[in-house]
């Protein structure tokens, strides 16, 4: 079903709120990753406010859709999306990475309800999601399993073991969502380890591949709908995104992959101004 303009604008507004929270929580934590979470804010807004079948007040609801986050370092976007969706108070986001917090630097399943799994070490999310989807299908469950992952972690062999497994067992209840933002810690992906042709790789592994603009919420929602109708194959939504999206001064700059506001490169914005400048930029976007 097509979204109305008002619905799209509402989702974009949620994405902007999520971005602001990401900046505030990373600045408070004084550590963590900035580019990836900002780049995935539109998709996480769409997931938590439209796509996922879930209940923030009952995170263990057995029939919920499962969202596995494979690249655990972008977990601020998930925490922020969950908080805005009502899983916990938004203020708790400011405890990110602090002692005793449920919001660990990399997500831990047992610490916070709704996380589904523990991740951080890269390349192991897709196979967990595949195992989960396989087990759910054994019992005739109808929920979907989504796995959000990065492009950099496609360099891990475990990812391709999972790609083969999911295709062999025709896991139609599994949707992979790849954040194709072209950066990783050490540089641009095509310099560190060329990944193209990314879509063809998954097609060759017998996946159904849908390429989208990861900041176009209607496109993402349409891709999720399409993945439900695909027979005999798992689906990969290959989402082309802009790392650092929403803050022009840092967009596409890999140096912001692992730096928080206040500790990033200072050639454009002094460190002590980074948080406030970023929040100003996000205000303009509304």
């Amino acid at each position: 079903m097509e979204l109305t303009d008002a619905e799209v604008r509402a989702l974009e507004s949620h994405a902007n709120d999520i971005r602001k929270t990401i900046i505030e929580m990373l600045a408070a934590a004084k550590s963590g990753h900035t580019s990836g979470p900002l780049g995935m804010a539109d998709i996480f807004a769409a997931l938590y406010f439209h796509v996922l079948k879930h209940d923030p007040k009952n995170p263990d609801w057995p029939e919920r859709d499962r969202l596995m986050l494979s690249n655990g370092h972008i977990t601020p976007v998930r925490y922020a999306a969950m908080a805005h969706a009502g899983y916990f108070p938004v203020e708790e986001c400011l405890t990110l990475r602090k002692f005793g917090s449920r919001l660990q630097g990399h997500p831990e399943r047992e610490r916070l309800p709704g996380l589904e799994t523990t991740s951080g070490p890269l390349g192991s999310g897709l196979s967990q999601a595949a195992g989960y989807a396989y087990a759910a299908r054994m019992d005739g469950k109808t929920f979907r399993v989504f796995c959000a992952m990065s492009d950099g972690e496609q360099e891990e062999g475990n990812t391709w073991e999972a790609a083969m497994f999911a295709a062999k067992y025709r896991l139609t209840n599994l949707t992979g969502i790849m954040d194709r933002n072209n950066i990783q810690i050490d540089g641009n992906t095509e310099d560190v380890m060329p990944l193209e042709p990314m879509g063809d790789k998954y097609r060759a592994f017998n996946w159904h591949v849908i390429e989208i603009d990861g900041h176009n919420i209607p496109q993402f929602i349409a891709a999720c709908d399409e993945s439900k109708s695909i027979r005999e194959k798992p689906t990969l939504i290959l989402a082309h995104t802009t790392p650092g999206k929403g803050i022009p001064q840092i967009e596409n700059d890999y140096r912001w992959h692992g730096a928080p506001p206040g500790k990033g490169p200072t050639d454009k914005i002094p460190a002590d101004k980074q948080r406030d400048v970023f929040l100003e930029e996000l205000k303009k976007a509304v």
Binding site: T117, T118, S119, G131, N158, M164
Partner: protein, 328 residues
């Protein structure tokens, strides 16, 4: 003498029945599958030699082949356990938990989901395949992981019981199995409780407490019998559960004897001996000798000649007991 409470096989010293401990996994996994339909078995292209094929034949719809991909084996298993299944993941111990240790740590141990990691072909009993396939480090790898239980059965019958018990713990478990046929010492009547060591040989006023794990337990019993003839009384305890250790039993036996010897088909660093030494240093400092592989890799050969070459034969355990005794 043999402890009658252990209800061991009558032919334990005289032409014992022979079977590989992995056969116990084959039988035990089928039993576990019969009593709980959440049990699933995964393998990484080693269905026959891990004995996962027993489960495969009985429950084909609950058997999952993941191909030669041990990282996938662990993580697909983690995903299935996270959903609510009880997966036994099978491969050779050098590959799983050898190759996929980080995946086990993150997706099974930190996640705290009940995957049962079954490492086959552990120890020198792997024989002609050589050093690459003889896991001598797996106990060390697994006993440092929080949430994991570590079990090393002494024979096929105990392997069966351990597998059935592991299915019921609700926790991650590491189970260690061997390739070659070894004496079946225990019987269906022999008690088995995870975390409860079994005293298998008990002489009057023992002077040394021998603690053994895995099939080498048979050599430990042969040692006890030989030493008794020389007037040196010992106890031999089957420490099938390395984590959690049966602290009470081990400390009591070590205190009573005043000297201890550990016996295992594993590197001397980080295995059963290490675990017991850590315990005794804390609760009952005791002179101790360590029978195990002395910080080196194995090689091709027949299991028996390898055990002799690497110092795990009866004569070596006899020597270790005498050394421990001399240090009292």
């Amino acid at each position: 003498m043999i402890n009658p409470d252990a209800k061991l096989a009558a032919n334990i010293f005289d032409k014992p029945d022979m079977a590989p401990t992995r056969d116990g996994f084959g039988k035990g996994s089928v039993e576990a599958g019969e009593s709980d339909d959440r049990v699933v078995v995964l393998t990484a292209d080693l269905a026959e030699s891990t004995r996962a094929d027993s489960f495969q034949k009985t429950f084909p719809e609950r058997f999952i082949q993941v191909g030669v991909a041990e990282q996938n084996l662990a993580t697909v298993g983690a995903g299935m356990a996270n959903y609510g299944k009880i997966p036994f993941i099978t491969s050779y111990a050098t590959f799983s938990p050898g190759r996929n240790w980080e995946q086990i740590r993150t997706t099974i141990a930190i996640n705290n989901v009940p995957v049962k990691v079954c490492g086959m072909h552990a120890g020198l009993l792997t024989g002609p395949d050589g050093a690459t396939h003889q896991a001598l480090e797996d106990i060390a790898l697994m006993r440092v992981l929080p949430h994991f239980l570590v079990i090393s059965p002494c024979d096929a019958e105990e392997g069966r019981k351990a597998t059935v018990a592991a299915a019921k713990t609700g926790t991650p478990v590491y189970l260690r199995f061997a390739r070659d046929k070894t004496p079946v010492m225990t019987t269906p009547e022999t008690p088995f409780t995870i975390g409860k060591a079994i005293v298998m040989w008990k002489s009057e006023k023992p002077k040394v407490a021998i603690f053994a794990t895995g099939p080498l337990l048979h050599n430990a019993l042969l040692t006890a019998r030989e030493l008794e003839g020389q007037g040196i009384n010992t106890t031999v305890t089957n420490v099938h559960t390395i984590k959690p250790l049966d602290e009470e039993t081990i400390v009591a036996l070590a205190r009573d004897a005043g000297a201890a010897v550990s016996v295992e088909e594993h590197q001397i660093n980080g295995g059963l001996g290490g675990a017991i030494a850590e315990l005794l240093a804390k609760k009952c400092p005791t002179p101790m000798e360590f029978v195990g592989v002395q910080d080196q890799f194995g090689q091709s050969g027949e299991p028996k000649e390898l055990l002799e070459h690497y110092g795990l034969g009866v004569s070596h355990i006899v020597d270790a007991v005498k050394k421990a005794l001399a240090r009292k």
